[in-house]
């Protein structure tokens, strides 16, 4: 936790520096988006009567009204309790969510860390008045006021849930049991053609995290803040890894099937995938010694929400202990509300997902949008932004 706190302090300082140079920035020559303060957006002062409906952009599985599974429904009770009808739009990727929020047609979004800052600095979301969300008090303290959900100590959203990208392997095919990400990055791997990796530019951070621990000369302090040399090292590592990759996955059912059949025997996973495979194949997943990347999702309110009162009612509803527990169990992630663990159907759930372990959470580097302004607070260097990450990912896959 200590190191993590320090790192986050540095990251916060970086954001401060970023905000500080807003006035002096001339704009000429500097990359767009750097040295900008978030646009001034007022937060809601008090909740009034509901507007009768609310428009939401969410990840699949976050807003369930019983149509996917009659037993999975926390929208109908919400509408009954508040009179707010829920119109949900599922966003496939973080970028799609950003695009949808820019249309101004939505009141709420469940944004991951690689979308939040873009929404904040784009002026698409408003700061959240946490006094109006009573359940905010029970949110795990290690999730509050982080670099991906706040700016200058101003919260822009309510933490919802989090999880890590774990290392999974087939216990019958991979021996000895790995403890490090090294098993997926070794050049002469005995598992050539059977290694899998997450198919997204953000996976570069996994390589950077590994280099952070194994190549101290590179002086990587944050896997999302990579200068030219560090970035090139991560790209080279992944290009070498590509020779051993069997397939990349982004659809989790695809990974489940690949591990069951044995097309993949070792690689990145989510807890929910390991749980889905269950006893169908002998698999095990761990948080390796280097730590891991992960996600932390945040409910945010649109800057120009047409239904702000219903939106705030939803914020409080979705992180209430009972509902947060339901969502977390259905989606397969650690709930943000500390009291949610008392309400899970599977009493061991929070243990499996390490929901209350700040030490476990501290080992996770949550997905964050890489920006030209280095997120680790370095000045005088330009870091690679997400567009560069995307281009590099294409080249890595070849």
């Amino acid at each position: 936790m200590g190191t993590y706190r320090r790192v986050m302090a540095v990251a916060a300082a970086g954001v401060l520096a970023l905000a500080g140079c807003g006035g002096s920035g001339t704009g000429g020559g500097s990359a767009p988006g750097t040295g900008v303060k978030p646009p001034k957006v007022d937060r809601l002062a008090a909740i009034g009567a509901g507007e009768g409906e609310v428009d939401i952009v969410s990840w699949a599985g976050y807003v369930e009204n019983g149509t996917d599974d009659p037993k999975v429904d926390w929208v109908t009770p919400f509408t009954r309790a508040t009179g707010c009808k829920v119109n949900n739009k599922v966003g496939g990727t973080s970028d799609e969510m950003v695009t949808l929020m820019k249309t101004g047609d939505y009141d709420l979004v469940s944004a991951s860390g690689d979308a939040t800052l873009r929404l904040i600095y784009g002026g698409n979301v408003a700061p959240v008045n946490t006094d109006l969300v009573p359940n905010y008090a029970d949110i795990q303290s290690f999730l509050k006021l982080k670099g991906w959900n706040s700016v200058d100590g101003v919260p822009y959203g309510i933490p919802h849930g989090w999880g890590a990208n774990l290392l999974m392997w087939r216990t019958d095919k991979v021996t000895p049991a790995p403890t490090s990400w090294g098993v997926v990055f070794e050049a002469n791997s005995p598992y050539k053609g059977r290694i899998t990796a997450y198919d997204s530019p953000i996976y570069l951070a996994d390589a950077a995290l590994y280099l952070m621990k194994t190549k101290p000369d590179l002086k990587i302090t944050n896997p999302y803040a990579l200068d030219d040399t560090q970035f090139q090292a991560a790209v080279d590592l992944l290009k070498a890894q590509n020779k051993n990759i069997g397939e990349y996955w982004s659809d989790y059912t695809k990974e489940v099937q690949a591990f069951k059949a044995g097309n993949s025997v070792v690689g990145t996973t989510w807890q929910v995938i390991t749980n889905t495979i269950g006893t169908d194949a002998p698999v095990q997943a761990i948080l390796p010694s280097e730590g891991a990347t992960g996600w932390s999702d945040t409910w945010m309110v649109a800057a120009k929400a047409k239904h702000p009162n219903c939106a705030y009612k939803w914020l409080d509803w979705i992180v209430s202990p009972e509902v947060n527990a339901q969502v977390a169990e259905y989606f397969g992630e650690a709930p943000a509300n500390a009291r949610a663990c008392d309400h899970t159907a599977d009493k061991a759930f929070c243990g499996t997902y390490h929901a209350a372990e700040a030490g476990y959470a501290a080992k996770i580097w949550y997905w964050t949008t890489p920006t030209a302004q280095c997120l680790d607070g370095r000045t005088g260097v330009t870091c690679k932004d997400y567009a560069a990450w995307t281009k590099a990912w294409t080249e890595i896959k070849g």
Partner: protein
């Protein structure tokens, strides 16, 4: 135009002048060009706005760039995207790979479709013919995704294809080969149908004449049938080639770590929100198809569609 007979007026002033509809139709009758213009304007509008308009928008947006942080599109024309594509070897590799996959799929489909279509059109008993054509078309009714995922299971480690080749790991597995196999399966009906139609138009008397002149089956096939259905084969190849060139889902499901142009377009819209670069990449298959269509037009394939 003869004067319109008008019934006796029921009241003062009524029906004294021709009704507006009549006036318009007689006016249109005298202005043939306007009439034609009005008749064609709706479909033309559709063609221009929905079809050519979209294509023009694609070309225009390929000249824009994206603000890397907020993801807003900067509408300031530049050739940066095209320069990036030309200067990055990976785009060339992927483009060539995509064309090679499309070509391989087309050749495989043609080789399978020729005998199948010949059997359908010339050998099978007429009462069976309809049923066989239905059988060929049936797979088109099943969802594309269902078929692709079914192939994923078939190609899995230890799956049916592995068994066929002698145990787990001996089959093609996931990768470029698997992509070509699955795409060939998916687009086969589109190759069979035009060839079947071409063979139906081929008169049986030509085959009989060839036999009467002493040609054996192979000789008849090579000198009579094949030259006459080459345009049909190229007509089918337009479907198989263009559908393969644009595909990005099959390759995601069974392609292992392979990527094609479609994946690059998708990744740049989906993951990076870089619509302009996607548009620039999408012009590659458009160009390839234009070249291909011009080439097959010379062979008369477009009349066979």
């Amino acid at each position: 135009m003869p004067p319109v007979p008008v019934p006796a007026p029921a009241g003062p002033g009524r029906a004294r002048a021709p009704r507006p509809g009549r006036a318009l139709s007689s006016w249109l009758y005298r202005h043939a060009r306007v009439r034609l213009g009005l008749l064609l304007s709706a479909p033309l509008l559709w063609l221009v706005v929905a079809y050519l308009g979209a294509l023009a928008l694609l070309l225009v947006s390929s000249l824009w760039t994206v603000d890397t942080f907020t993801g807003d599109i900067v509408r300031h024309p530049s050739l940066d995207n095209f320069r990036a594509i030309a200067g990055t070897p990976v785009y060339r590799t992927v483009a060539l790979r995509s064309v090679a996959v499309a070509a391989a799929v087309t050749v495989i489909d043609a080789l399978i479709a020729l005998p199948m279509a010949f059997y359908l059109a010339k050998v099978a008993a007429p009462r069976w013919r309809g049923w066989l054509v239905i059988a060929v078309l049936t797979p088109l009714w099943a969802s594309y995704l269902v078929k692709a995922y079914a192939w994923r299971v078939m190609l899995a480690n230890g799956g049916p294809l592995d068994d066929l080749f002698g145990g787990p790991g001996h089959g093609p597995g996931y990768g470029l080969t698997a992509t070509v196999i699955v795409l060939s399966y998916l687009w086969l009906p589109y190759m069979i149908l035009p060839i079947y139609a071409g063979l139906e138009r081929l008169s049986d008397s030509l085959l009989e004449a060839s036999a009467d002149l002493g040609a054996r089956a192979f000789r008849t096939w090579r000198s009579v049938v094949l030259p006459m259905i080459v345009p049909s084969v190229f007509a089918g190849s337009i479907f198989t080639f263009s559908l393969s060139l644009g595909d990005y889902i099959t390759v995601q499901i069974v392609g292992g770590k392979t990527q094609l142009i479609g994946n690059l377009v998708y990744a740049n819209i989906g993951a990076a929100g870089n619509l302009p670069l996607s548009a620039a990449l999408a012009t590659i298959p458009v160009l390839v198809m234009v070249v291909y269509l011009v080439a097959v037009r010379r062979l008369g394939a477009l009349e066979q569609l």
